[in-house]
């Protein structure tokens, strides 16, 4: 059991990372990562939905017939996201004002459907839960990293407005590195593709080195 958890975590974070290995969920990975804080927010929201969707599908996997599984998954995920969106808006309104923009976008994140289809529909509740957490963590890591690099090069800050997302206690994360703005291009869409490309190349390079050793 413990080895399988280790594999699941390793897969989610590195070997089979949603963004850097599976190359899915690239739309949010490119669109919202204009700052580290935005990447982190989107990552956390996606993780929550991914875990719940994985557990739900693992619970229902025996009654869902293969022929209609995709529409059932789509209905489940879309309803789940909408319910989370409404609950956050009602009871965690301050957080919703920061994250609200991202929540609706999760519906079209194929990483969720991908994990539900590839993993949760074939595994038990506990492994599906761990897989959701691990994949979500890997996704969060990737988005935060892309966001931080773009933010650093583009606006010269790190984790700007983090206290709005995480609360005043996390104000120490906000760092102004340099004042002169930086390369605007990195904040704009091309910057997302450039950073993503370099990070992908870097990961491949590391993996090749490791295998040839």
């Amino acid at each position: 059991m413990s080895t399988s958890i280790k594999t699941l975590v390793k897969d989610g974070v590195w070997n089979n990372n949603v963004v850097f290995a599976q190359m899915i969920g690239l739309c949010p990975a490119a669109a919202v990562t204009t700052s580290g804080t935005n990447g982190l927010g989107m990552g956390l929201a996606t993780t929550a939905v991914l875990v719940i969707a994985n557990v739900l599908v693992a619970l229902l996997r025996n009654i869902i017939s293969p022929q209609v599984r995709i529409p059932v998954f789509v209905v489940l995920i879309a309803s789940l996201v909408t319910v989370v969106d409404m609950l956050l808006n009602a009871w965690l309104h301050e957080l919703y004002k920061v994250l609200g923009l991202f929540i609706a976008l999760i519906v079209v994140n194929c990483a969720i459907l991908g994990r539900v289809e590839a993993f949760a529909s074939k595994n038990g509740v506990w492994p599906a839960f761990v897989d959701g957490l691990a994949m979500g963590f890997g996704f969060t890591l990737a988005l935060t990293l892309i966001g931080l690099i773009r933010e650093f090069l583009g606006s010269g800050t790190l984790f700007a407005q983090a206290s709005q997302l995480l609360g005043e206690n996390f104000a120490f994360l906000e760092i102004h590195v340099h004042e002169n703005g930086g390369a605007l291009l990195m904040i704009l869409p091309p910057g997302a593709f450039a950073v993503l490309g370099f990070l992908l190349a870097g990961k491949r390079l590391l993996d090749t080195r490791r295998h040839s050793d």
Partner: protein
């Protein structure tokens, strides 16, 4: 009949799909009714906060949120106006104007006193480029406070690049240009419909 053979029955799939959709709808209906009140409350609180931000402290002694009225400005949708009163007399009005920015509509909430002077302005909603155009937000820059005290006559309503009074941002001219022209249009609406805007009575609340 075992579950495995039942699953192969042609009726199983439409029934499963129907059941799932029914359960999903039930969950949505529950969530919607459970959160409607709290969401409306939270949005009213947001609006009240924004209203308080565009007015000087202790400017009004009434509940602006309740003291609202729709005024026909001859352009399709009527204008929702919140009145700020002191001792029952209308001292100023608060309303939103919409500008066409670089990334879409920019909603600006502005407060104007009875003489047509701007008391304050805030951007409520926008989709401008982060790090560039978003300096119109008070959280990012105090640029928007530059409108305070301005009137239609005593200001040059354009960004500096176009020969006006208002700063543009490095790399973003369209966004501040849109906000400046939206606020200017707000003042023009005020000038044109001053009597209706400042009318002492509202249907809901008789001073």
């Amino acid at each position: 009949m075992s579950f495995a053979t039942l699953k192969e029955h042609p009726l199983y799939q439409p029934l499963l799909l129907g059941l799932m959709t029914l359960l999903a709808s039930a969950a949505l209906a529950w969530a919607s009714s459970a959160t409607r009140g709290a969401i409306a409350e939270a949005e009213a609180r947001d609006l009240r906060d924004s209203l308080a931000q565009v007015l000087p402290e202790n400017f009004a002694d009434n509940d602006l949120l309740a003291d609202n009225t729709d005024i026909d400005i001859g352009a399709g949708k009527p204008l929702r106006v919140y009145r700020a009163r002191a001792g029952g007399a209308v001292k100023g009005v608060v309303f939103t104007v919409i500008g066409k920015g670089y990334g879409g509509e920019i909603t600006v909430l502005m407060a104007v006193d009875e003489d047509g002077r701007i008391l304050g302005a805030r951007v409520l909603k926008h989709t401008e480029t982060p790090g560039l155009g978003d300096k119109i937000e008070i959280a990012k820059s105090d640029w928007i406070n530059g409108f305070g005290g301005k009137t239609l006559a005593a200001a040059n309503w354009a960004v500096k690049k176009d020969g006006g009074d208002f700063d543009q941002f490095a790399g973003a001219t369209i966004t501040p240009r849109a906000v400046v022209s939206a606020v200017k249009r707000g003042l023009e609406i005020f000038a044109r419909h001053k009597a209706a805007l400042l009318a002492q009575k509202t249907e809901e609340h008789d001073g």
